[in-house]
């Protein structure tokens, strides 16, 4: 056997003898070319990756140094606003605080640091700006800051000083060429809380946030004020329901005849509105096209419901959809609701309803209803606004007449409609206003004049599209 094989190989070599030199040269050339190709490709890739790394690192350094600069400015401005002598000059200072802290926050968001790491610092920067803005509106009208407000600024200034110090520590590292952001990106996410001490760079960044360990809660008239986190829902009924009662409510809400199965899910026990949650599957429909529904533990009210299904051809127009939604709301105990705006998207319409009391439209008491335009089924409802805000209000008597309010409006506005409204502010208070709808240069606007003070509280622009009206 061995002999035979040997012969065979020998024979083959014999046959190819003539081409042997040529082929080995060819193979060698291909191999060399491939090697040259691969190594130059590899080198090129390496160069590129390196250039990119330097570029991103530069970007991170830029963002960081900018952040440090804005915090420097912030510190000085806060100190200055403590010694300004007139409300007007305080206002100018605070306005600049607001601007600088916004810029600082924006730059911080660009650092390669996973979210929880600089949470408190971000919160501080947002609140400094937000509070400065709120105080600015106050001082702009000529009223000076109270002692309490001075104290708050003083405290915030103290925090700016310590933040500044930690930032400059890292800035020194950058200047010494020791900061490698690439490392922090990947490590920060993993290392946090486990082996902080092992990674000096991550722990340095971690130290920034430690400045705010003892940070007090700040209450002022702004959307990021701490009182916003503790708002109590006002629209919940007193009665507590059990999970079985809630299931019955959910079943009735959707309609027993439509339900194939209803299952309890994990309840939501955290937050200011606690709920029981159910998964509903429908008759003649797949499991995927089911709905989830939340019923409040206190009050047994609908919190939200959402069904995901395919939608057929539209058969309802907007008027019919609004009618369907309104009669549905009335049946479910939401009375005196008026539709405000809607948005239509592939087969459904989301219609916003606001509560009305004594002909005043109460925007904070908001319920959103999602109607399927193929058969008028209610496929979604969201009543968070209503549950948080709804109550019977004692609406004060307006100090201005409609005519007086109207006179305060820019006379370029061609007014087409007017009514009374209660509007929400960004910080969970309400304002009683005259609402004017009007046109300037083909654009539609809503203008709100405070019925008690005559102040122009808000201007909204309406953008009409074929799918509904948006406010900006």
């Amino acid at each position: 056997m061995e002999n035979y094989e040997y012969r065979n190989v020998y024979d083959q070599n014999d046959v190819r003898k003539g081409g042997r030199g040529f082929w080995s040269i060819t193979v060698a050339i291909i191999a060399i070319l491939a090697l040259v190709g691969v190594s130059s490709w590899g080198y090129y890739q390496y160069k590129q990756a390196n250039a990119l790394r330097i570029q991103t690192n530069n970007n991170y350094n830029r963002a960081f140094v900018d952040l440090a600069d804005y915090v420097d400015n912030l510190e000085v401005l806060l100190a200055k606003s403590l010694v300004t002598s007139t409300p007007k000059s305080t206002s100018a200072m605070l306005e600049e605080v607001w601007r600088q802290s916004n810029l600082a926050q924006a730059n911080m968001g660009q650092l390669p640091v996973s979210p929880p790491l600089l949470e408190k610092t971000s919160n501080y920067l947002t609140q400094v700006g937000d509070m400065a803005y709120a105080l600015n509106t106050k001082t702009l009208n000529g009223s000076p800051l109270t002692n309490k407000e001075y104290d708050s600024i003083k405290k915030l200034h103290g925090y700016a000083l310590s933040l500044q110090k930690s930032l400059h520590g890292i800035e020194n590292q950058i200047n010494a060429g020791k900061m490698n952001w690439g490392k922090t990106t990947t490590r920060a996410a993993r290392v946090q809380s486990v082996a902080k001490a092992n990674d000096p760079q991550t722990s340095q960044i971690d130290n920034i946030d430690k400045n705010f360990q003892e940070y007090p809660s700040l209450i002022y008239d702004g959307p990021y004020s701490d009182h916003m986190l503790k708002t109590k829902p006002l629209g919940l009924k007193d009665k507590k329901v059990t999970v079985n009662e809630a299931q019955e409510i959910a079943r009735k809400f959707i309609g027993s005849d439509k339900i194939r199965d209803i299952k309890k899910l994990d309840k939501n026990d955290v937050g200011s509105i606690k709920t029981f949650r159910f998964k509903v599957t429908y008759k003649n429909s797949t499991d995927q096209q089911g709905a989830e529904i939340d019923i409040t533990q206190q009050g047994g009210q609908i919190y939200w419901m959402l069904r995901n299904r395919d939608f057929g051809k539209d058969t309802l127009n907007m008027e019919e959809a609004k009618k369907t939604a309104l009669s549905f709301l009335e049946k479910k105990g939401f009375t005196s609701m008026k539709d405000t705006y809607y948005q239509k998207t592939d087969g459904t319409a989301v219609i916003c309803y606001a509560y009305t009391q004594d002909n005043v439209i109460v925007y904070p008491d908001l319920v959103k209803v999602k109607v399927a335009l193929d058969d008028g089924e209610i496929v979604g409802i969201e009543s968070k606004g209503y549950l948080y805000n709804h109550r019977v209000r004692s609406i004060p008597k307006a100090k201005l007449t409609m005519e007086e309010a109207r006179k305060r409006i820019n006379n370029k506005l061609n007014i087409t409609n007017q009514r009374m409204a209660i509007i929400p502010t960004d910080f969970k208070t309400e304002k009683y206003c005259y609402e004017f709808t009007g046109k300037v240069d083909g654009h539609d606007f809503l203008i709100y004049i405070n019925a008690l003070t005559g102040k122009e509280e808000d201007v909204l622009m309406l953008i009409a599209t074929e799918n509904g009206t948006l406010t900006m």
């Binding site: 040529f22 060819t26 937050g271 995927q288 998207t345 592939d346």
Partner: protein, 231 residues
């Protein structure tokens, strides 16, 4: 020797053609074949806006091709030496700069103005593709809750592109274009319309794959699909 030259040439051709693979064709096409009286939609709206900007049109930019739109298209065509038909054909639309970038022949998600909806939908797609619908809305809601929170950047793009915040952004899945009919787009819309299954949560994680240990110190609010949500 001749053979050697041939072989070398052959090899070079192969090397060069390999480097050419991956080059994509890009060209402009008009968004619609033609727009005429009775048409409506975003394309008409874009055209009306252009006409309005240049003073050919003073009606409403409402996306409805009516008579006044017709006359302004006619005026535009006359002025530009195009066939005055009143029908905005491909040539007319292209001359208005309303062409759309098309890559390798397949329609591409509008690159000019990536709306919040598309951006959010792409983030949901990268983060929660295999999740149940409520889970997708929940991920969208968490992103929107972050925009509203003092602890995060103040814009949607700022939150989504925050370095290290979402794995789908770090590994580039965020750039994958998605069809407007995909369920993640519906989920993005519902989240933008205000549906929040998480009741204000700022974080979510998949306990099976979570790499960060800090996440375990977070209080779990609720579980939807494979994700846990918390503040």
């Amino acid at each position: 020797m001749k053979k050697l030259v041939k072989v070398v040439a052959f090899c070079l051709i192969i090397v060069f053609s390999v480097t050419l693979i991956g080059q994509e064709k890009m060209y402009f096409v008009s968004p619609a074949n033609s727009l005429k009286v009775g048409d409506n939609g975003q394309d008409v709206k874009d055209m009306q806006q252009e006409l309005k900007n240049w003073g050919y049109y003073d009606g409403k930019v409402n996306g409805v091709f009516g008579n006044d739109t017709f006359t302004s298209v006619l005026r535009y065509q006359k002025n530009y030496g195009l066939d005055p038909t009143g029908i905005a054909d491909e040539l007319t639309l292209l001359s208005m700069g309303l062409g759309q970038m098309i890559e390798s022949g397949s329609a591409y998600a509008a690159t000019k103005n990536v709306s919040d909806e598309q951006l959010l939908a792409r983030a949901i797609n990268g983060e929660a593709r295999g999740e149940p619908f409520e889970g997708q809305v929940a991920v969208g809601a968490v992103i929107l809750n972050r925009v509203k929170s003092s602890k995060f950047p103040k814009t949607l793009a700022g939150v989504i592109y925050q370095p290290g915040a979402f794995t789908a952004v770090s590994d580039g899945q965020i750039t994958v274009p998605i069809s407007p009919n995909s369920t993640v787009v519906k989920a993005a819309r519902d989240a933008l319309a205000g549906w929040d299954p998480t009741e204000g949560c700022l974080y979510y994680w998949n306990p099976a794959t979570a790499t960060s240990s800090w996440i375990w110190s977070r209080k779990v609010h609720l579980k939807i699909g494979r994700h846990w949500f918390g503040i």
